[in-house]
């Protein structure tokens, strides 16, 4: 028990990095996904195709590969060859990847709204922005809540991939402690940390789903 208490401060430090990546990714990837989804259903064929290809590549290759590519590979690319620090590189890779997933979720949500909703709004004189903001998006949010909840919980666990960039997130901190102390207790504590984070998210999403269920 004393041992556990003694390692908790360090593990909390690691958790801070994990949470930082998590929140920044969520805050950037969701708007990116919404933007991409609108491109994906736009009447511009070229735009639609470009975004479709983007989504295809980002969902069809491992996030780990994308992470390594952004960190180690980008500097070698002519012209744009920039070298990012580990944390910005991780954020970039995660946002691009999760943006693609959120794009597909939003697209499916948008397309699930019956055409009659758009038509009713139009006959009431609402313009595109009003229709989206007041009629369509609230209904889309309800539909996409379960898949977004899934993705978000997956993201908590995926943050551990930044381990390969030698950043001291929760997982790497844990492994360092295990190696230093020859004790596997940190693994158990790390599992509990991840579980608590997932639990809080699940609880939050359940609340949201209840809130949205008031109209059916």
């Amino acid at each position: 028990m004393d041992y556990i208490i003694s390692i908790i401060p360090q593990m909390l430090m690691g958790t801070v990095d994990t949470l930082r990546l998590f929140f920044i990714t969520i805050v950037l990837a969701i708007p990116l996904g919404i933007l991409l989804a609108f491109c994906r259903v736009s009447s511009f064929k070229l735009l639609r195709d470009v975004v479709a290809a983007y989504v295809y590549v980002l969902r069809g290759t491992p996030l780990m590969l994308q992470l390594l590519f952004v960190y180690f590979g980008l500097p070698f690319i002519p012209v744009i060859g920039i070298r990012l620090d580990d944390f910005p590189a991780a954020v970039l890779a995660f946002v691009l990847n999760y943006g693609a997933y959120f794009c597909e979720i939003f697209r499916a949500g948008l397309q699930a709204i019956p055409r009659g909703q758009f038509e009713a709004a139009k006959t009431l004189g609402m313009n595109y922005a009003q229709t989206m903001k007041r009629i369509i998006l609230p209904q889309v949010f309800k539909i996409i809540l379960p898949p977004v909840s899934n993705e978000t919980i997956t993201l908590v666990k995926d943050t551990s991939l930044i381990y390969v960039l030698a950043m001291n997130d929760l997982l790497r901190t844990t492994r360092n402690l295990v190696q230093r102390d020859f004790n596997i207790m940190p693994f158990v504590v790390a599992a509990v940390f991840y579980l608590v984070m997932s639990m809080i998210l699940t609880y939050g999403f359940n609340k949201l789903e209840k809130h949205f269920a008031r109209w059916d």
Partner: protein
């Protein structure tokens, strides 16, 4: 006064010519019923009137203002303010299309407050009066999906009326209702007609067309095949398509 004037309306979906040349005039306070076989273009015509579909030829004048016109060379031109003209017509759909995430009262108030920018307190009063009129004031804080089909459709009618439209368009308003629920919706529409609302109603309810309409149009194959008073159209049909249509539907 002339409320709707539609001349030589033509509408194609790719190669499918759904409306070949449709003419219709509606005067203030008239109730026009459009009947005809399914697939004949009735919905499409109604949707052309309020710009849910864009036409390929013809002219539409609403309340003296040109919504869309076609020049000698066949170029179709919509007025710059066509959207504003179009939403002077309230529309009631077969599938109700209420906004499920808003209460009944919010459904009614949404567009008057956010589109017409009217005073919310006044709009609320009018909305409540309209709900009272369609017999649903006690449902004002319910969400639409909790209501029966007939109640939803009456809310949809009240929602359209809350915009203070000059004209009401109905596209088979009772076709997705159980038979025992059509009566309440038809009664609401009857009351509206008695209040001298100008109405265009696509319907399979021949009883309603016969008793309430001032004019009946029979549409098939992209044309108005016959039109006249209910007595003429139902009592003494001339067109062969109309005769067989009436026979099939009254069986």
């Amino acid at each position: 006064m002339r409320k709707i004037e539609a001349k030589s309306i033509c509408k194609k979906f790719d190669d499918l010519e759904v409306l070949k040349s449709i003419d219709m005039t509606v005067d203030e306070g008239e109730v026009v019923a459009i009947i005809g076989p399914s697939g004949g273009g009735k919905s499409t015509f109604l949707r052309c009137l309020n710009k849910l579909e864009t036409i390929n030829g013809g002219t539409i004048i609403i309340d003296g203002e040109t919504l869309v016109s076609t020049d000698e060379n066949g170029n179709v031109r919509y007025a710059d303010n066509s959207s504003r003209i179009a939403c002077r017509m309230g529309m009631v759909f077969q599938q109700f299309n209420l906004f499920p995430h808003m209460t009944v009262l919010e459904n009614l108030m949404e567009a008057p407050v956010h589109v017409q920018k009217r005073n919310p307190a006044e709009v609320q009063k009018e909305a409540e009066a309209l709900l009272e009129k369609v017999g649903l004031l006690d449902k004002r804080d319910q969400y639409p999906l909790r209501l029966s089909g007939g109640q939803q459709q009456r809310v949809a009618i009240a929602r359209a009326l809350c915009m203070k439209p000059d004209i009401m368009l109905f596209d088979e308003p009772t076709s997705s209702l159980d038979p025992e629920l059509t009566g309440e919706v038809l009664k609401t529409m009857r009351n509206l007609a008695e209040d001298h609302m100008t109405m265009v109603v696509v319907t399979h309810e021949m009883g309603f067309a016969r008793e309430v309409a001032t004019k009946v149009l029979f549409m098939a194959d992209g044309y108005i095949q016959e039109q006249g008073t209910p007595e003429e159209v139902f009592g003494n049909p001339k067109n062969e398509r109309l005769k067989s249509f009436l026979k099939s539907i009254l069986k």
